[in-house]
Each structure stands twice: as structure tokens, then as C-alpha cells.
Amino acid sequence: MGLLSDPVRRRALARLVLRLNAPLWALPVAWLERTMRSVGLEVYTQSFSRKLPFPDETRERYMVAGTNVYGILRAPRAASTESLVLTVPCGPDSANSQAVGLLLALAAHFRGQIYWAKDIIFLVTEQDLLGTEAWLEAYHDTNVTGMQSSPLQGRAGAIQAALALELSSDVVTSLDVAVEGLNGQLPNLDLLNLFQTFCQKGGLLCTLQGKLQPQDWTSVDGPLQGLQTLLLMTLQQASGRPHGAHGLFLRYRVEALTIRGINSFRQYKYDLVAVGKALEGMFRKLNHLLERLHQSFFFYVLPALSRFVSIGLYMPAAGFLLLVLGLKALELWMQLHEAGAGPQEAGGASGPGPPLPPAQSVGLASLVAPLLISQAMGLALYVLPVLGQHVATQHFPVAEAEAVVLTLLAIYAAGLALPHSTHRVMSAQAPDRGWMALKLVALIYLALQLACVALTNFSLGFLLAATMVPAAALTHPCGPRPLYAALLVLTSPAATLLGCLFLWRELQEAPLSLAEGWQLFLAALAQGVLDHHTYGALLFPLLALGLYPCWLLFWNVLFWK
């Protein structure tokens, strides 16, 4: 008597197997094509497929395949040189069907107007952002992320701006806007101002980071709420994830926003006509433009929808933090030279001594080994988890995603044991001042990296600077070693990530317990590696190949014998 002898069980198993082979949810491609064609658009489809580096536990997918459907509304009297995009990302966990309905209604309405000077592309993508990435790569004829996609049959000119729409239901109590994109890129502030203007005109309730706009800026409440919104934006921008389909458009210098309709427990509800009017107004205004949006800021942080902090105001803060590192490096340089000058004078006074003090030449050699080893650890941290996942699953009873994350953590922790191994590699002649040279090099390395990061993704640069600079400056082999070790571990990149997760959920008023936080941390690690392979997000390689080796150098300095 086996499993398959019982006909009932046999049927249940057959149904289960059938279910697993067929996708749980698929875009109704044929229906969409027919409907768009009946509205009067030029309709095209694009298929794409991709095998993820390891299965995505949160979205339960591994071999991803899908079809994007898009319709082009041609401008009646213009030359089809420019276009605007309205995109609705659909996926198994968020079908976004209300947004598709609104998209089709808007397409029908726009088709009846004669004042369009740019083509409008109505894009429905499958598999969320993977579909959007496939479409964008095919549209701009590049292949950045290794996606296999069929080439596009129809194009509409250079994309000037894009709006992504996500609706959960057909009534909406507020509209939330997301600006942070891939690798912390932001759209031009004018696009956000446009959205805010139409919110005010239409009397819609609009939120940023899920928080309402503070009304009272004179008392403490307004600025405090603004600070919370600003911290949330900093954390989101630092993570470097595309928080919506708009984040992928920004890489091609297409200004884009994601508008989410939230249905929560509020008294006043808006129907889709109000949302549609706001979108129509935004598209008409974008239609009026002759040039790309370039007059307003590209680098800013937002305490509220109607307020911003520009780069000229916030950059000095990061500059001062990095100045600390520079000054510390200068101090070490001067100490090294004084110490180097001392024995030289003594040698000269006593007699014709060696032209170079032996300490300096040994110093250089003793620097190369820690640098190479920590960089090798960083490389291992970057390459090994994904490469070695199959080996890990063979030997341990874990899934691939868990294997990747656990390998990451294991290599990270192994780095802590480094000083003991590097000291065995190097000769016992490591002089007392060798640590100063190493710390000098590490300080300059850290300063350069953080400066480069702060220029492109200010939030990430500032966050890392705020945590790593004090620990790096204070590290000293003499002194209370356990205290400094604890400080250094608490400000390491991984601990910073953990802390940021807790802070992020705290600010969103959904605080985490320790166990939940740890689970979220593991999930975030897996997502970070996946984002890097699927969208080209740079947080994982930056931390693994840049900041982790730098942090290891400081760890070496701390445990110098």
C-alpha cells in the first residue's frame, strides 16, 4: 500500500502537481491587447524570462517568465519624437487590477483629445519590477542585468517622464507618493511639485512616506513630524532599492514617480474619478513642456511634500564628518614623521647610520598584507554566498536562500577572527608604529569611499559616515580593548543595517520585536543580494567590496600586537 494506491490521494496529488506546474496568476494578455486595441492604441507585447540567482522566498519565484503589454497613443500632430509613460506594475502578490482599469479609462479619454504633443505609452508589466526592467532595457537597447527579453516591436521616441500607479481598491482615502529610486536616485523636484499642486487643486489628501503633512510649523509638532518624514526618506534612499516602478526609470534619466492609492480607515473617500483627474492634469502639464525637467533640484531630502532641503544645505554636514577623518589622518601622518625623524637624528648624531630608518621600510611591507587579506575577505563575501549555495544545500538541511544568507553571515563573522591569522602571516618584527601607518591608510580609504558615496547617494553616505567615523577615529590598539571592540562591532555595516531596520519600523509606527527584527534582517540580506543581481543595485557590492574590507582594517588596527 503506497501513496498512489488510494485513488483519492492519487487525484489530489495529480491536482497538486498540475497546480505547481501552472503559474498561480498570469496577466490576461489577450484580453488586454483586445481592449487596448478597441480604445484606439497601437498595441504590442514583449515576453521576458530570467532565472534568479537563488529562489526569492518573499515572492516565491525562481524561474521568472512573463509578458508585458503596452499600447501607444500617437500624438495627432507631432512627430513622435518624445513620449510620456503611464505604467501599472502587476504581479502575483499585488494584482493591481483597479489601476489597470483606471489606465484603460484614461487611455480612452486621452484618445479623444487633440492637444497631445508627445506620444503616451500605457504599459502593463508582469512580475512587478522585473517586467518593468525588461521593458526598459529593451526600449533603450541595453542589457544591464542579464534579462532575456524579446526586442520591442513598437517605440515612441525619447521618454520625458513616467508615472507608475498602484491602487489596492476602487476607493482611495489618500495618495502616497514615492520618490526614492534605485541606488538612491531621485526624480527632479519639479515632478513632485507638480503632483503636490494637483493634490491641492483636486482637494486630495496626499501623504509622503505614509505620513500626513504637518500643518503647524510654529510649535514643536510640525518640525518633529517633518524630522520623522526626513529620517524615513533617508533610510529608504540609503537602502538603494527601487521603491516602485519609477525607481527603474530614473537610471535612464527619465523623471518618474510612483503614486499609491491607500484605502485606510478615514471618513472621506475619493473615487477613481478624482484620481483620474489628477493624473490627467499631470499629463497635460507634462505635455506642455518643450524640454526635459531640469530647472529644479535633483538632490534633496524632504521633510514634507511642500518643503525640501537642497544639497547646498545638507552637504556641509557630510563634509564636516569626513573632515574628522582627514584631520585624524593628518595627525597620524605628523606623528609618523616625528617618530621617523627621531631615530634618524639619533643615528646621524651617533655616526653615519643607514640612510633610511629600518622602521619605515618594514612599515610599508607590513601594510600590504592586511590590505590584501581584508580585500580578499571582501571579495569572498561578494562572490562565495551565491556561488557556494548549492554546495551548502548539499551539506546542510537549508534552502538556497537561507544558505546564501548564512554563508554571508559566516564569512562576515570569520573576518572578526582575522587579526589572529594575519599576525601569524607577518613577521614578529611588526614595530609599534606600524599600526599608525595602517590606520592612516584605512582612514584615507574610508574617507575616499564615503565621499564618493555621499556624492551620489547622500543618505547612504551620511548614514555610514555617522556610524563609522567616530569608531574609526577612536580606534587605538592601546586602551580599553573590549570597549573599542564593542564600539567597532556595533558600527560595522551589518550592525548599522540591523539598527536601521529597527529605526525604520519604529518610525513607521510598527515596531519590531527582536525575533521579528532578526527575521527581517535575514530577509533584507537576501533581498539585497537579489536586488544587486536583478536590478543592478549597488548597496551589496559597496558594502562587501568597499566598506567591509575598510572596517576589517580598523579591526586589524585595534588588535595590533
Binding site: A75, Y115, A117, H288
Partner: protein, 332 residues
Amino acid sequence: MVASCFLRKCLTALAGLLLLSFGSLAASQIEDQTEQFFRSGHTNNWAVLVCTSRFWFNYRHVANTLSVYRSVKRLGIPDSHIVLMLADDMACNPRNPKPATVFSHKNMELNVYGDDVEVDYRSYEVTVENFLRVLTGRIPPSTPRSKRLLSDDRSNILIYMTGHGGNGFLKFQDSEEITNIELADAFEQMWQKRRYNELLFIIDTCQGASMYERFYSPNIMALASSQVGEDSLSHQPDPAIGVHLMDRYTFYVLEFLEEINPASQTNMNDLFQVCPKSLCVSTPGHRTDLFQRDPKNVLITDFFGSVRKVEITTETIRLQPDLGNMESRNQS
């Protein structure tokens, strides 16, 4: 007998005196009429109308210029004597929901584009260099006749400019500027080359009065829509077209000009009163110190129209050369 002879002589003398006085009265009337004929020293009219801004949301600047073009054409200046410079095409813009029209009012009563508009400098040809070349006449020999300002020393020229401006400058096409000093020097070049008899300069931009502060050539009268430090405001937005249709100052100037016909005797003082602060929000300004005639003697049609002076008379008139005027011209 002697008394009747004396009486007859007296009567003839009286009759002779009366005839002489009537004759002299008639002669002075003829002289007055001929004085009127040469009241203003110009024999032809030109207009240079410039709109300096592009982009669809600067629709109102093109509408401003076209309203003045329409008035000027209606009052008699032919297209061959108008240099019309429009930096962007609004009527045939793909964003225009009413193609081939440019409206001045949201009731869409008046299509200022019309059926027979002739644009001489269009789109990217409207640059500071081209504008100054038109004014001073330093034009390459291949330029067609319609793009030239072929004025002489008896031409009255109307120059109307609109766009975005600031304190001392006017922006051309979002990429370059003309300053008030350059403009004043260009007018001085025109004066020295005898390219105008009298010049009326009207400007409708923000801080427009700053543009005429530096003029130093004679026979120039200037009007501006706002003083230094003030913005010129637009009139009304139109929800169907989606933009503001006209600027306030030119809207009220157009309203004023619609009342003028080629025979009207309205003078410049009435033009100075157009658009008080209550309607315009900004304070229009004017400058007449360089102008030789009194503004109340200057007709609107002296600049905005091309009124051919025809006087029919059966008397013989002896014309005396105006030595005083000629000497002043030779000296300056």
C-alpha cells in the same frame, strides 16, 4: 457833387479794405492748412514687433505681439512695412486645442492670428543679433526684403517688444539677453544713420521701465507696462487652451486700439492713461523728455497707422523752406 464823389471813394476804399482782409484771412487759412499738412515730419510708417519667448506656456507673449500686429495692419501699415518676429509658433503648435488660432480673450471672440499673417522672423531666427541687425540695417546682402527695416529719415517707427524681462534686460528665447544699454546704443546708431524721424517704443515685460531708462537719442517716446521692481501680470487663464492668453497691459492697449480708426484724432496722452494701476496691478510708465513735440499733439495714428495725407485744394500755395528745422537737423 463833391460829397457823393467822396462817399463813393470811401465806399470803394472800404470795399477794398474788406476784400484785402478777407483775402488775408483766406490766405492764412490756406497757410494753416498747409501747416497742418506738415505738422508731423514723417512720410511713412514702419513697425517692428518682437515676441522674444518660446514654449507653449508663453502663449500670451505671442498673443500680445499678434494683437499689436493686427491693430497696426488694420490702421493701414502694410506687411511690407512690418517686421514681425515671433519666437515660437502657437497657432500650429501640436498643443493647441484650437489649431490655426491665437485668441486674446477667453471668450474666444477675437482670433488675432487672422487669415493673412506674415511672420518675418520665426522660431530660432529671433535672436538679439538679428534684432539689432534689423534695427541698424547691418544685414547680409542675401537677406530678403521682407526681413529688412528699410526706413529713412522721414519714417516713424513703432517698436513693440514683449517677453520675460528684468531690471535692465530682456530675455530672448531662454538663452540670451539684450540689455537696455545695447538697445539705447542701437537707437543712437539709427539716429546717426538717419533711419528714423520719430520712434515709439512700447515694452510689456516685468520691470519694463528699466529698458527705456538709458535712451539718449532724440525723438524717442517710450511706454512700459511696469516700473522697476514690479512684475507685469497676465490677464486670464483659459481652461480649454490651458494657458494664460494675454498680458494685462497689452490687453487693455488692444481694447483701446480697437476704438481707433484711421481718421481718429486721439492723441498720445490718452494712450498714457490706458491701464491704470487698478486694472493692471503694475504701474505703467512712459518717457517723453527726448521727444520734441508735445504728446498731446501726437496722434495715435502717427505711429500705429499709416495715414496717407491727401489734401485737395484749388488755391496755389507757395511753400517756404523751413530753414530752422533744416539747420537743427544738419547740426545734430
